[in-house]
Amino acid sequence: MDLGIQNVSKAFGATAALRDVSLSIETGELVALLGPSGSGKTTLLRLIAGLETPSAGAVFFGDEEASRRSVQERQVGFVFQHYALFRHMTVLENVAFGLTIRPRHSRPSKQEIERRALDLISLVQLSGLEGRYPQQLSGGQRQRVALARAMAIEPKVLLLDEPFGALDAQVRKDLRHWLLEIHERTHYTTLFVTHDQEEALELANRVVVMNEGQIVQIGTPDEVYDHPAVPFVHRFIGESSELPVRVENGQIWFDDCPTGLASDRAGSGLLFFRPHQVEIAPEGSRCLAARVIGSRRLAGTRRLELSVGQSNRHVEIDVPLEHPVAQKQVVFFRPKVWTLFPTGDKEQARPETVGAKLVFPRSAAGGTLRHYEPSVS
């Protein structure tokens, strides 16, 4: 079922939770709504489910406007962060609930309901536990019951609200793989909310990045990671360092020193790069010079905390574990992949990304995707 959200706004009293949000999702997609808390992503999910009514705008399921329908009629599968299982019912009764409460004329027979519920229980790999009560299950098992329960009504869309938010890291990892498998097998159109960028990048076909009630970028995981549309996305997804710079004579300058990075823009901007996408430069070449103020061991690399220039900007870079530069007081480096966001002039506010692999937009129908020109470094 295609899903369309058209110019939806939602206000709670005086605070606007969503401001003019539009989004379209194709059948079978697995889409992540990613954003910090308070960005409106859960509100958007609840609007689609019908648990909230929009202040303005409309929600479409296929060609049909869903906004006028009640929660009960929308036939969405909703999975809550804290499972929201019925604790006086067994796993089997929980999963079968959506079918057993149907009015008599559309209700399958008792055997049929039980067969379908047991099928789903085995799909979520909980066979043998169908007689247990929710409080006898672990968190990961409970969330799987919740998913099976949501799938039992054969939903038009599956909506997951921070499904792994309450679980510990290891279980989370397992469940991610498992959710991918389920999605590949069932192909339900799935929308999930998360504030964990790693989860969004790993699971989703497309990532919708939200901030302050608005969608700031829609794209594949590669697009949002390599070609962030706005500084917020660069800061929020992946690790990043930023420096205020100036562009003059085709060269990027920081603190009146040339950085060795070329650009054909002019004016001031923000230079973004990621800690692992830098190269150590020979002393005396055009590069950034920085004082080392700290050094930490990360899993496979060493992270250096640096202070750059007279304004003591704080940036971080990664170097190989045994690299001699870790012992030094001063480091010379140059970003290999970077993005320049012009500041000021709105007309030119398109970022320039250099060094990242080019990714072609998958489909323009799936929302406003940005086009990127091939870049040269």
Partner: protein
């Protein structure tokens, strides 16, 4: 050595590392003995001087039996009525925000605080054939005051806070997401209440029911004013005890007391068992 000792002796369940188990347990036992067990065993001991024959003839006296029937029957009925309407009151207080909610909330406790005789007289005045409500009901052919129905009215009055106060906190704790989950699965409002909410509230409702029932069985002050106290018709067992005492017939009084005590104990024990079963099943 220690292993031999611990395996040969019956032991309490491991009380945990926080000290004070011995002290608090000892205190609880002493306190319960002083306050409850010793007075009650005095009652039993007193009646045991009667001998089985006398005890049985006193206990199975028709007047005693009908008084017991009135007492337990009306208490049971009143507790049932309270379970339904107390639940509604608790629901309104928890779920809705309306002006004067705090006042209504405070009013619920009034039956606790009001001297029971005042309540009884007030109710009797209202429901008497010439009272405001009683006159209306008399027009419809109902007689409430001075009949067992009047007893039920009085017991509903004194029992209401028990249900409201036990259900209220549990209802306030119900996770809204559970209801939302049921709604997304297609459950109508009514089905959500019946299939999802009520089973979760059952242990609390049972607790309130047991307390209202216990209170109703022992209630004296409010009932005697509205009951009319007609032997074999609207005479409650506690009143019969007082009547026997005034006749200096202590043996008969204790016999009625012991019968009441045993029935009450069995009923409360049964309710407690159901409750612990439902708690184990549904988790508390």
């Amino acid at each position: 050595m220690t292993a031999a000792v611990s395996s040969s002796r019956w032991r309490f369940r491991e009380p945990g590392v926080i000290p004070g188990f011995g002290l608090t347990f000892g205190f609880a036992v002493c306190y319960l003995s002083l306050v409850i067990l010793i007075p009650l065993s005095g009652l039993v001991w007193r009646s045991s001087t009667l001998g089985w024959q006398d005890f049985w003839s006193l206990a199975s006296d028709p007047r005693t039996l009908s008084a017991l029937k009135v007492s337990f029957g009306s208490a049971l009925l009143a507790a049932l009525i309270n379970s339904v309407f107390g639940l509604v009151v608790a629901w309104v207080l928890v779920r809705y925000r309306f002006p004067g909610r705090r006042i209504v909330d405070a009013v619920v406790d009034l039956p606790f605080a009001l001297p029971t005789a005042v309540a009884g007289i007030a109710l009797a005045t209202l429901y008497a054939p010439n009272g405001i409500i009683g006159a209306q009901l008399a027009g419809l052919g109902f007689k409430v005051a001075f009949t067992p129905a009047g007893i039920v009215v009085a017991l509903v009055f004194v029992g209401l806070p028990f249900i409201v106060r036990t259900v209220q906190p549990v209802l306030a704790d119900v996770d809204r997401e559970v209801e939302e989950a049921a709604a997304t699965l297609g459950a109508s409002r009514l089905k959500i209440v019946v299939r999802v909410l009520l089973p979760g509230l059952l242990p609390a409702i049972l607790t309130g029911f047991a307390m209202a029932l216990a209170r109703g069985i022992g209630e004296y002050g409010s009932v005697i004013f509205i009951a009319g106290n007609i032997p074999y018709f609207s005479e409650i067992a506690p009143l019969l005890i007082v009547i026997r005492l005034e006749e200096f017939n202590y043996a008969a009084a204790t016999a009625v007391g012991v019968v009441m005590l045993s029935i009450s104990f069995l009923m409360l024990l049964l309710i407690n068992l159901i409750q612990s079963w439902s708690r184990r099943r549904y988790g508390s």
